[in-house]
Protein backbone atom coordinates (compact mmCIF):
# COMPACT_ATOMS: atom_id res chain seq x y z
CA UNK A 1 0.00 0.00 0.00
CA UNK A 2 1.49 3.36 -0.99
CA UNK A 3 2.19 6.19 1.43
CA UNK A 4 -0.47 8.47 -0.04
CA UNK A 5 -3.04 5.72 0.13
CA UNK A 6 -2.39 4.99 3.80
CA UNK A 7 -2.49 8.73 4.54
CA UNK A 8 -5.82 8.81 2.77
CA UNK A 9 -6.98 5.81 4.76
CA UNK A 10 -6.03 7.67 7.92
CA UNK A 11 -8.11 10.65 6.81
CA UNK A 12 -11.06 8.39 6.21
CA UNK A 13 -10.67 6.77 9.59
CA UNK A 14 -10.62 10.11 11.41
CA UNK A 15 -13.55 11.37 9.40
CA UNK A 16 -15.49 8.19 10.01
CA UNK A 17 -14.90 8.23 13.76
CA UNK A 18 -15.89 11.86 13.99
CA UNK A 19 -19.17 11.62 12.14
CA UNK A 20 -20.39 8.04 11.78
CA UNK A 21 -22.19 7.79 15.10
CA UNK A 22 -23.84 11.12 14.55
CA UNK A 23 -25.05 10.23 11.05
CA UNK A 24 -26.48 6.85 12.06
CA UNK A 25 -28.29 8.41 15.02
CA UNK A 26 -29.71 11.13 12.83
CA UNK A 27 -30.87 8.77 10.11
CA UNK A 28 -32.32 6.37 12.65
CA UNK A 29 -34.32 9.17 14.20
CA UNK A 30 -35.68 10.18 10.83
CA UNK A 31 -36.15 6.83 9.14
CA UNK A 32 -37.07 4.65 12.06
CA UNK A 33 -35.39 1.35 11.28
CA UNK A 34 -31.89 1.00 12.80
CA UNK A 35 -30.67 -1.51 10.21
CA UNK A 36 -31.64 0.60 7.25
CA UNK A 37 -30.18 3.68 8.88
CA UNK A 38 -26.90 1.83 9.34
CA UNK A 39 -26.93 0.65 5.70
CA UNK A 40 -27.66 4.10 4.42
CA UNK A 41 -24.96 5.62 6.61
CA UNK A 42 -22.47 3.05 5.30
CA UNK A 43 -23.33 3.80 1.70
CA UNK A 44 -23.12 7.51 2.44
CA UNK A 45 -19.57 7.21 3.76
CA UNK A 46 -18.58 5.01 0.84
CA UNK A 47 -19.95 7.59 -1.53
CA UNK A 48 -18.28 10.46 0.32
CA UNK A 49 -15.01 8.57 0.29
CA UNK A 50 -15.01 7.83 -3.42
CA UNK A 51 -16.63 11.06 -4.63
CA UNK A 52 -14.48 13.13 -6.99
CA UNK A 53 -14.83 16.27 -4.84
CA UNK A 54 -12.33 17.74 -2.36
CA UNK A 55 -10.55 15.46 0.16
CA UNK A 56 -12.75 14.71 3.14
CA UNK A 57 -10.61 16.53 5.66
CA UNK A 58 -11.02 19.71 3.63
CA UNK A 59 -14.81 19.67 3.50
CA UNK A 60 -15.98 22.80 5.31
CA UNK A 61 -19.27 21.48 6.63
CA UNK A 62 -18.80 17.72 6.87
CA UNK A 63 -22.17 16.97 8.44
CA UNK A 64 -24.11 19.02 5.94
CA UNK A 65 -22.09 17.32 3.20
CA UNK A 66 -22.95 13.85 4.55
CA UNK A 67 -26.60 14.78 4.93
CA UNK A 68 -26.71 15.90 1.30
CA UNK A 69 -25.23 12.63 0.10
CA UNK A 70 -27.63 10.62 2.28
CA UNK A 71 -30.55 12.59 0.87
CA UNK A 72 -29.48 11.92 -2.68
CA UNK A 73 -29.05 8.19 -2.09
CA UNK A 74 -32.39 8.01 -0.34
CA UNK A 75 -34.12 10.00 -3.04
CA UNK A 76 -32.73 7.69 -5.76
CA UNK A 77 -33.95 4.76 -3.78
CA UNK A 78 -37.45 6.13 -3.26
CA UNK A 79 -37.70 7.01 -6.93
CA UNK A 80 -36.77 3.49 -7.83
CA UNK A 81 -39.55 2.15 -5.69
CA UNK A 82 -42.06 4.51 -7.28
CA UNK A 83 -41.09 3.28 -10.72
CA UNK A 84 -41.23 -0.32 -9.61
CA UNK A 85 -44.74 0.16 -8.26
CA UNK A 86 -45.93 1.91 -11.41
CA UNK A 87 -44.43 -0.87 -13.52
CA UNK A 88 -46.18 -3.58 -11.54
CA UNK A 89 -49.44 -1.65 -11.72
CA UNK A 90 -49.12 -1.31 -15.48
CA UNK A 91 -48.47 -5.05 -15.73
CA UNK A 92 -51.51 -5.79 -13.59
CA UNK A 93 -53.66 -3.53 -15.76
CA UNK A 94 -52.98 -5.51 -18.92
CA UNK A 95 -56.06 -7.30 -20.33
CA UNK A 96 -54.19 -10.54 -19.72
CA UNK A 97 -52.10 -9.80 -16.61
CA UNK A 98 -48.68 -11.42 -16.55
CA UNK A 99 -45.79 -11.56 -14.13
CA UNK A 100 -42.41 -11.82 -15.83
CA UNK A 101 -39.79 -13.86 -13.91
CA UNK A 102 -37.90 -11.97 -11.18
CA UNK A 103 -34.64 -11.65 -13.16
CA UNK A 104 -36.55 -10.06 -16.03
CA UNK A 105 -38.34 -7.70 -13.69
CA UNK A 106 -35.02 -6.66 -12.21
CA UNK A 107 -33.53 -6.00 -15.63
CA UNK A 108 -36.58 -4.00 -16.70
CA UNK A 109 -36.44 -1.98 -13.52
CA UNK A 110 -32.72 -1.21 -13.97
CA UNK A 111 -33.43 0.05 -17.47
CA UNK A 112 -36.46 2.07 -16.41
CA UNK A 113 -34.46 3.75 -13.66
CA UNK A 114 -31.65 4.53 -16.10
CA UNK A 115 -34.04 6.08 -18.61
CA UNK A 116 -35.80 7.96 -15.84
CA UNK A 117 -32.49 9.51 -14.82
CA UNK A 118 -31.71 10.45 -18.40
CA UNK A 119 -35.06 12.20 -18.70
CA UNK A 120 -34.78 13.91 -15.32
CA UNK A 121 -35.64 17.60 -15.43
CA UNK A 122 -37.49 17.53 -18.74
CA UNK A 123 -41.02 18.98 -18.83
CA UNK A 124 -43.58 16.20 -18.36
CA UNK A 125 -44.94 16.68 -21.86
CA UNK A 126 -41.51 16.35 -23.50
CA UNK A 127 -40.91 13.23 -21.50
CA UNK A 128 -44.26 11.77 -22.52
CA UNK A 129 -43.71 12.65 -26.18
CA UNK A 130 -40.25 11.10 -26.23
CA UNK A 131 -41.43 7.84 -24.66
CA UNK A 132 -44.32 7.57 -27.08
CA UNK A 133 -41.89 8.10 -29.93
CA UNK A 134 -39.00 5.80 -28.99
CA UNK A 135 -40.72 3.16 -26.87
CA UNK A 136 -44.16 2.91 -28.44
CA UNK A 137 -42.93 3.89 -31.89
CA UNK A 138 -45.73 6.34 -32.54
CA UNK A 139 -45.23 8.73 -35.43
CA UNK A 140 -44.79 12.45 -34.83
CA UNK A 141 -48.31 13.00 -36.19
CA UNK A 142 -49.81 10.45 -33.80
CA UNK A 143 -47.98 11.98 -30.87
CA UNK A 144 -49.25 15.45 -31.81
CA UNK A 145 -52.82 14.12 -31.88
CA UNK A 146 -52.54 12.17 -28.67
CA UNK A 147 -51.06 15.07 -26.72
CA UNK A 148 -53.14 17.75 -28.43
CA UNK A 149 -50.07 19.68 -29.57
CA UNK A 150 -48.92 21.13 -32.87
CA UNK A 151 -46.40 19.12 -34.86
CA UNK A 152 -43.84 21.89 -34.48
CA UNK A 153 -44.16 21.77 -30.70
CA UNK A 154 -43.90 17.98 -30.69
CA UNK A 155 -40.79 18.15 -32.83
CA UNK A 156 -39.20 20.67 -30.50
CA UNK A 157 -39.95 18.53 -27.43
CA UNK A 158 -38.61 15.43 -29.15
CA UNK A 159 -35.40 17.20 -30.14
CA UNK A 160 -34.79 18.43 -26.58
CA UNK A 161 -35.53 15.04 -25.08
CA UNK A 162 -33.45 13.13 -27.62
CA UNK A 163 -30.42 15.39 -27.22
CA UNK A 164 -30.64 14.90 -23.48
CA UNK A 165 -31.38 11.21 -23.51
CA UNK A 166 -28.94 10.03 -26.19
CA UNK A 167 -26.15 12.54 -25.68
CA UNK A 168 -26.59 13.95 -22.18
CA UNK A 169 -26.96 17.50 -23.48
CA UNK A 170 -28.65 20.30 -21.53
CA UNK A 171 -28.32 18.69 -18.12
Amino acid sequence: MSASLSAAAHTLQTFYLQHHGWLVARLRRKIGCPWDAADLAQSTFLRAWTAPGPPLDQVAEPRAYLTTIAQRLLSNHLRRRQIERAYLEALGALPDPVAPPPDVQLMVLETLVAIDQLLDGLPAVARQAFLLWRLEELTQEEIAQQLGLSRTTVRRHLATAAERCYFGMGE
Binding site: L40, V108, D116, T139, Q140, A162
Partner: protein
Protein backbone atom coordinates in the same frame (compact mmCIF):
# COMPACT_ATOMS: atom_id res chain seq x y z
CA UNK B 1 -22.97 16.87 -33.82
CA UNK B 2 -25.45 15.38 -31.33
CA UNK B 3 -27.87 18.06 -32.40
CA UNK B 4 -27.31 17.14 -36.07
CA UNK B 5 -27.86 13.44 -35.34
CA UNK B 6 -31.15 14.24 -33.62
CA UNK B 7 -32.12 16.51 -36.49
CA UNK B 8 -31.60 13.65 -38.95
CA UNK B 9 -33.50 11.23 -36.74
CA UNK B 10 -36.49 13.57 -36.69
CA UNK B 11 -36.27 14.30 -40.40
CA UNK B 12 -35.98 10.70 -41.60
CA UNK B 13 -38.81 9.72 -39.28
CA UNK B 14 -41.16 12.52 -40.32
CA UNK B 15 -44.36 10.83 -41.52
CA UNK B 16 -45.95 14.03 -42.80
CA UNK B 17 -43.12 14.63 -45.23
CA UNK B 18 -41.45 11.30 -46.08
CA UNK B 19 -37.80 11.96 -46.85
CA UNK B 20 -36.97 12.36 -50.52
CA UNK B 21 -34.15 10.50 -52.23
CA UNK B 22 -32.16 13.71 -52.08
CA UNK B 23 -32.66 14.04 -48.33
CA UNK B 24 -31.47 10.49 -47.88
CA UNK B 25 -28.37 11.20 -49.92
CA UNK B 26 -27.64 14.25 -47.79
CA UNK B 27 -28.01 12.16 -44.71
CA UNK B 28 -25.63 9.55 -46.13
CA UNK B 29 -23.10 12.27 -46.91
CA UNK B 30 -23.39 13.58 -43.37
CA UNK B 31 -22.83 10.07 -41.98
CA UNK B 32 -19.72 9.58 -44.07
CA UNK B 33 -18.30 13.05 -43.54
CA UNK B 34 -16.85 12.23 -40.12
CA UNK B 35 -16.49 9.02 -38.11
CA UNK B 36 -17.92 10.96 -35.16
CA UNK B 37 -21.15 11.46 -37.10
CA UNK B 38 -21.47 7.75 -37.67
CA UNK B 39 -20.69 7.15 -34.01
CA UNK B 40 -23.40 9.56 -32.88
CA UNK B 41 -25.86 7.87 -35.19
CA UNK B 42 -24.79 4.48 -33.94
CA UNK B 43 -25.28 5.62 -30.37
CA UNK B 44 -28.95 6.32 -31.01
CA UNK B 45 -29.44 2.95 -32.66
CA UNK B 46 -27.60 1.14 -29.89
CA UNK B 47 -29.57 2.75 -27.08
CA UNK B 48 -32.86 2.17 -28.87
CA UNK B 49 -32.00 -1.47 -29.39
CA UNK B 50 -30.94 -1.85 -25.77
CA UNK B 51 -34.12 -0.35 -24.44
CA UNK B 52 -36.23 -2.53 -26.70
CA UNK B 53 -34.30 -5.58 -25.65
CA UNK B 54 -34.20 -4.82 -21.96
CA UNK B 55 -37.70 -3.44 -21.53
CA UNK B 56 -40.13 -5.28 -23.72
CA UNK B 57 -39.84 -9.04 -23.31
CA UNK B 58 -42.89 -9.61 -25.43
CA UNK B 59 -45.00 -7.19 -23.44
CA UNK B 60 -46.60 -4.09 -24.93
CA UNK B 61 -44.33 -1.05 -24.89
CA UNK B 62 -47.10 0.88 -23.15
CA UNK B 63 -46.23 -0.95 -19.91
CA UNK B 64 -42.73 0.52 -19.81
CA UNK B 65 -43.98 3.90 -20.93
CA UNK B 66 -46.65 3.99 -18.23
CA UNK B 67 -44.14 2.99 -15.58
CA UNK B 68 -42.13 6.07 -16.53
CA UNK B 69 -44.97 8.55 -16.92
CA UNK B 70 -47.44 7.40 -14.27
CA UNK B 71 -44.93 6.79 -11.50
CA UNK B 72 -46.06 9.05 -8.72
CA UNK B 73 -44.80 12.56 -8.89
CA UNK B 74 -41.39 11.99 -10.38
CA UNK B 75 -37.91 12.50 -9.13
CA UNK B 76 -38.61 15.92 -7.65
CA UNK B 77 -41.18 14.34 -5.40
CA UNK B 78 -38.78 11.60 -4.35
CA UNK B 79 -36.21 14.24 -3.57
CA UNK B 80 -38.63 16.24 -1.44
CA UNK B 81 -39.63 13.11 0.40
CA UNK B 82 -35.98 12.29 1.05
CA UNK B 83 -35.36 15.81 2.30
CA UNK B 84 -38.30 15.47 4.61
CA UNK B 85 -37.03 12.19 5.94
CA UNK B 86 -33.45 13.19 6.57
CA UNK B 87 -33.81 16.86 7.50
CA UNK B 88 -37.42 17.44 8.43
CA UNK B 89 -39.41 16.22 11.37
CA UNK B 90 -40.80 12.77 11.79
CA UNK B 91 -39.63 9.39 10.55
CA UNK B 92 -41.97 6.92 8.94
CA UNK B 93 -42.44 5.12 5.69
CA UNK B 94 -42.01 1.85 4.01
CA UNK B 95 -38.27 2.36 4.29
CA UNK B 96 -38.40 -0.87 6.28
CA UNK B 97 -39.17 -2.76 3.09
CA UNK B 98 -36.62 -0.86 1.13
CA UNK B 99 -34.29 -3.74 0.37
CA UNK B 100 -31.13 -1.77 1.04
CA UNK B 101 -27.98 -3.77 0.77
CA UNK B 102 -28.87 -5.38 -2.54
CA UNK B 103 -26.29 -5.13 -5.34
CA UNK B 104 -28.08 -2.29 -7.06
CA UNK B 105 -27.57 -0.24 -3.95
CA UNK B 106 -23.84 -0.47 -4.56
CA UNK B 107 -24.28 0.59 -8.14
CA UNK B 108 -26.11 3.72 -7.06
CA UNK B 109 -22.98 4.68 -5.18
CA UNK B 110 -20.71 4.39 -8.24
CA UNK B 111 -19.55 7.53 -10.04
CA UNK B 112 -19.76 5.81 -13.41
CA UNK B 113 -21.56 2.58 -14.16
CA UNK B 114 -22.87 0.59 -17.09
CA UNK B 115 -25.67 -1.97 -17.19
CA UNK B 116 -25.28 -5.39 -18.78
CA UNK B 117 -24.77 -4.97 -22.51
CA UNK B 118 -23.97 -1.27 -22.18
CA UNK B 119 -20.69 0.49 -22.95
CA UNK B 120 -19.83 4.07 -22.21
CA UNK B 121 -16.86 6.38 -22.45
CA UNK B 122 -16.01 9.47 -20.50
CA UNK B 123 -13.25 12.06 -20.55
CA UNK B 124 -11.93 12.75 -17.07
CA UNK B 125 -10.84 16.11 -15.66
CA UNK B 126 -7.19 15.58 -16.65
CA UNK B 127 -8.01 14.59 -20.23
CA UNK B 128 -7.64 10.86 -19.56
CA UNK B 129 -10.25 8.90 -21.48
CA UNK B 130 -12.07 6.04 -19.81
CA UNK B 131 -14.18 3.38 -21.54
CA UNK B 132 -16.49 1.24 -19.42
CA UNK B 133 -17.32 -2.18 -20.72
CA UNK B 134 -20.54 -4.05 -19.88
CA UNK B 135 -21.67 -4.31 -16.22
CA UNK B 136 -18.93 -2.07 -14.87
CA UNK B 137 -18.80 0.26 -11.87
CA UNK B 138 -16.06 2.78 -11.23
CA UNK B 139 -15.32 5.43 -8.63
CA UNK B 140 -13.04 8.36 -9.30
CA UNK B 141 -10.78 9.79 -6.67
CA UNK B 142 -8.90 12.73 -8.06
CA UNK B 143 -7.08 14.85 -5.51
CA UNK B 144 -4.20 17.31 -5.37
CA UNK B 145 -1.73 14.44 -5.15
CA UNK B 146 -3.13 11.53 -7.11
CA UNK B 147 -5.45 10.39 -9.87
CA UNK B 148 -7.07 7.20 -8.64
CA UNK B 149 -9.65 5.15 -10.50
CA UNK B 150 -11.30 2.50 -8.36
CA UNK B 151 -12.60 -0.40 -10.45
CA UNK B 152 -15.33 -2.06 -8.40
CA UNK B 153 -16.70 -4.42 -11.02
CA UNK B 154 -16.32 -5.10 -14.73
CA UNK B 155 -13.71 -3.85 -17.15
CA UNK B 156 -12.25 -0.52 -18.25
CA UNK B 157 -9.96 0.74 -20.97
CA UNK B 158 -7.82 3.70 -19.94
CA UNK B 159 -6.17 6.07 -22.40
CA UNK B 160 -4.08 8.20 -20.10
CA UNK B 161 -3.27 11.84 -20.67
CA UNK B 162 -0.27 13.79 -19.34
CA UNK B 163 -1.28 15.40 -16.08
CA UNK B 164 -2.51 18.96 -16.58
CA UNK B 165 -2.41 19.89 -12.88
CA UNK B 166 0.76 18.46 -11.33
CA UNK B 167 1.16 18.06 -7.59
CA UNK B 168 1.60 21.61 -6.26
CA UNK B 169 4.17 20.68 -3.61
CA UNK B 170 6.46 18.45 -5.66
CA UNK B 171 5.77 19.82 -9.15
CA UNK B 172 5.63 16.19 -10.32
CA UNK B 173 2.73 14.83 -12.39
CA UNK B 174 0.21 13.10 -10.13
CA UNK B 175 0.36 9.34 -10.58
CA UNK B 176 -2.53 7.80 -12.52
CA UNK B 177 -3.53 4.50 -10.97
CA UNK B 178 -6.31 1.96 -11.11
CA UNK B 179 -7.17 0.14 -7.90
CA UNK B 180 -8.88 -3.25 -7.95
CA UNK B 181 -9.60 -5.76 -5.20
CA UNK B 182 -6.14 -7.26 -5.80
CA UNK B 183 -3.89 -4.26 -6.07
CA UNK B 184 -2.77 -1.22 -8.01
CA UNK B 185 -2.03 -0.67 -11.70
CA UNK B 186 0.04 2.44 -12.41
CA UNK B 187 -0.02 3.98 -15.89
CA UNK B 188 3.23 4.99 -17.56
CA UNK B 189 1.96 7.06 -20.51
CA UNK B 190 -0.30 4.50 -21.98
CA UNK B 191 -3.44 2.74 -23.19
CA UNK B 192 -4.44 -0.35 -21.26
CA UNK B 193 -7.38 -2.40 -20.03
CA UNK B 194 -8.12 -3.61 -16.51
CA UNK B 195 -10.72 -6.25 -15.74
CA UNK B 196 -11.97 -7.31 -12.33
CA UNK B 197 -12.68 -11.05 -12.23
CA UNK B 198 -14.17 -12.86 -9.23
CA UNK B 199 -10.79 -13.71 -7.68
CA UNK B 200 -8.20 -11.79 -9.69
CA UNK B 201 -7.54 -8.84 -11.97
CA UNK B 202 -6.30 -9.06 -15.54
CA UNK B 203 -4.39 -6.26 -17.22
CA UNK B 204 -3.54 -5.86 -20.92
CA UNK B 205 -1.28 -3.12 -22.30
CA UNK B 206 -2.03 -1.82 -25.79
CA UNK B 207 0.42 1.12 -25.77
CA UNK B 208 3.11 2.37 -23.38
CA UNK B 209 3.63 0.46 -20.16
CA UNK B 210 2.09 -0.08 -16.74
CA UNK B 211 3.28 -1.29 -13.36
CA UNK B 212 1.34 -3.84 -11.30
CA UNK B 213 1.53 -3.92 -7.51
CA UNK B 214 -0.24 -6.67 -5.55
CA UNK B 215 -2.00 -5.30 -2.46
CA UNK B 216 -0.24 -7.70 -0.11
CA UNK B 217 3.19 -7.54 -1.75
CA UNK B 218 3.55 -4.01 -3.10
CA UNK B 219 7.32 -4.40 -3.32
CA UNK B 220 6.92 -7.15 -5.94
CA UNK B 221 6.03 -4.78 -8.77
CA UNK B 222 5.80 -6.10 -12.30
CA UNK B 223 6.32 -3.86 -15.31
CA UNK B 224 4.20 -4.72 -18.33
CA UNK B 225 5.12 -3.37 -21.78
CA UNK B 226 2.90 -2.79 -24.80
CA UNK B 227 1.72 -6.07 -26.30
CA UNK B 228 1.80 -7.87 -22.96
CA UNK B 229 -0.85 -8.98 -20.52
CA UNK B 230 -0.74 -10.42 -17.00
CA UNK B 231 -2.81 -11.46 -14.04
CA UNK B 232 -2.73 -9.52 -10.78
CA UNK B 233 -3.48 -11.44 -7.59
CA UNK B 234 -3.50 -10.15 -4.03
CA UNK B 235 -0.01 -11.45 -3.34
CA UNK B 236 1.63 -11.70 -6.75
CA UNK B 237 1.58 -10.33 -10.28
CA UNK B 238 2.38 -12.04 -13.54
CA UNK B 239 3.98 -13.63 -15.36
CA UNK B 240 3.72 -11.41 -18.45
CA UNK B 241 2.46 -13.17 -21.56
CA UNK B 242 1.87 -11.94 -25.12
CA UNK B 243 -1.37 -10.06 -25.63
CA UNK B 244 -4.33 -12.16 -26.78
CA UNK B 245 -5.59 -11.27 -30.21
CA UNK B 246 -8.52 -8.88 -30.01
CA UNK B 247 -7.69 -7.56 -26.54
CA UNK B 248 -9.40 -4.19 -26.19
CA UNK B 249 -11.53 -4.75 -29.29
CA UNK B 250 -14.62 -4.48 -27.08
CA UNK B 251 -14.24 -0.73 -27.08
CA UNK B 252 -14.97 -0.85 -30.81
CA UNK B 253 -18.04 -2.93 -29.96
CA UNK B 254 -16.46 -6.17 -31.16
CA UNK B 255 -15.53 -9.47 -29.61
CA UNK B 256 -12.48 -10.77 -31.51
CA UNK B 257 -11.37 -14.34 -30.85
CA UNK B 258 -8.99 -16.80 -32.39
CA UNK B 259 -9.46 -20.51 -31.85
CA UNK B 260 -11.17 -19.97 -28.49
CA UNK B 261 -12.91 -22.92 -26.79
CA UNK B 262 -16.69 -22.56 -27.17
CA UNK B 263 -17.39 -22.55 -23.41
CA UNK B 264 -14.94 -19.63 -22.96
CA UNK B 265 -16.50 -17.83 -25.90
CA UNK B 266 -19.99 -18.20 -24.45
CA UNK B 267 -18.75 -17.01 -21.05
CA UNK B 268 -17.36 -13.88 -22.74
CA UNK B 269 -20.56 -13.35 -24.69
CA UNK B 270 -22.74 -13.78 -21.63
CA UNK B 271 -21.12 -10.71 -20.06
CA UNK B 272 -23.01 -8.69 -22.64
CA UNK B 273 -26.46 -10.21 -22.22
CA UNK B 274 -28.78 -10.74 -19.31
CA UNK B 275 -29.88 -14.22 -18.40
CA UNK B 276 -28.19 -17.58 -18.56
CA UNK B 277 -26.07 -18.74 -21.48
CA UNK B 278 -24.79 -22.28 -21.20
CA UNK B 279 -22.62 -24.63 -23.23
CA UNK B 280 -23.82 -28.25 -23.33
CA UNK B 281 -21.04 -30.79 -22.56
CA UNK B 282 -21.31 -32.30 -26.06
CA UNK B 283 -20.36 -28.96 -27.62
CA UNK B 284 -17.60 -28.06 -25.17
CA UNK B 285 -14.81 -29.33 -27.44
CA UNK B 286 -15.64 -26.95 -30.33
CA UNK B 287 -13.57 -23.85 -31.03
CA UNK B 288 -14.52 -20.40 -32.31
CA UNK B 289 -12.68 -17.80 -34.41
CA UNK B 290 -13.85 -14.49 -35.80
CA UNK B 291 -15.04 -11.00 -35.00
CA UNK B 292 -18.50 -10.64 -33.49
CA UNK B 293 -20.51 -7.47 -32.88
CA UNK B 294 -21.41 -7.12 -29.22
CA UNK B 295 -24.47 -4.95 -29.71
CA UNK B 296 -26.66 -7.87 -30.76
CA UNK B 297 -25.82 -11.08 -28.92
CA UNK B 298 -28.86 -12.88 -30.34
CA UNK B 299 -27.39 -12.40 -33.78
CA UNK B 300 -24.02 -13.69 -32.65
CA UNK B 301 -25.69 -16.84 -31.33
CA UNK B 302 -27.52 -17.33 -34.59
CA UNK B 303 -24.26 -16.83 -36.48
CA UNK B 304 -22.72 -19.57 -34.34
CA UNK B 305 -25.30 -22.06 -35.52
CA UNK B 306 -24.14 -21.47 -39.10
CA UNK B 307 -20.42 -21.56 -38.31
CA UNK B 308 -20.43 -24.61 -36.05
CA UNK B 309 -22.40 -27.86 -35.85
CA UNK B 310 -24.50 -26.47 -33.00
CA UNK B 311 -28.07 -25.50 -32.31
CA UNK B 312 -29.70 -23.28 -29.72
CA UNK B 313 -31.94 -24.72 -27.09
CA UNK B 314 -33.91 -21.78 -25.68
CA UNK B 315 -36.21 -22.38 -22.75
CA UNK B 316 -36.83 -18.67 -22.63
CA UNK B 317 -35.04 -15.70 -24.10
CA UNK B 318 -33.03 -15.63 -20.85
CA UNK B 319 -32.00 -19.22 -20.69
CA UNK B 320 -30.18 -20.41 -23.77
CA UNK B 321 -28.09 -23.56 -24.10
CA UNK B 322 -25.76 -24.14 -27.05
CA UNK B 323 -25.63 -27.83 -27.88
CA UNK B 324 -24.34 -30.07 -30.65
CA UNK B 325 -26.77 -30.33 -33.54
CA UNK B 326 -28.64 -33.61 -33.41
Amino acid sequence: MARAAVHWLLTLDDDSAPPSERTRQQWQRWLQADPLHAQAWQRIATLDAQWQQQLLHGLPASVARQALTASGHGRRHALRLALLLTAGTGGLLAWQQSGLGQPHWQRLAADLATATGEQRSRELADGTRLWLNTATAVNLHYSATERLIVLRAGEILVHSAPDNTPDATTGQPRPLRVRTAEGLVRAIGTRFTVRQHAQHTSVAVLEGAVELRPAQAPQDALRLEAGEQATLGRSQAGPATPLAEGAGAWHDGMLVVNDMPLPDFLAELSRYRSGLLRCAPDAAGLRVSGAYPLADTDRVLNALTRALPVQLQARTRWWVTVERRS
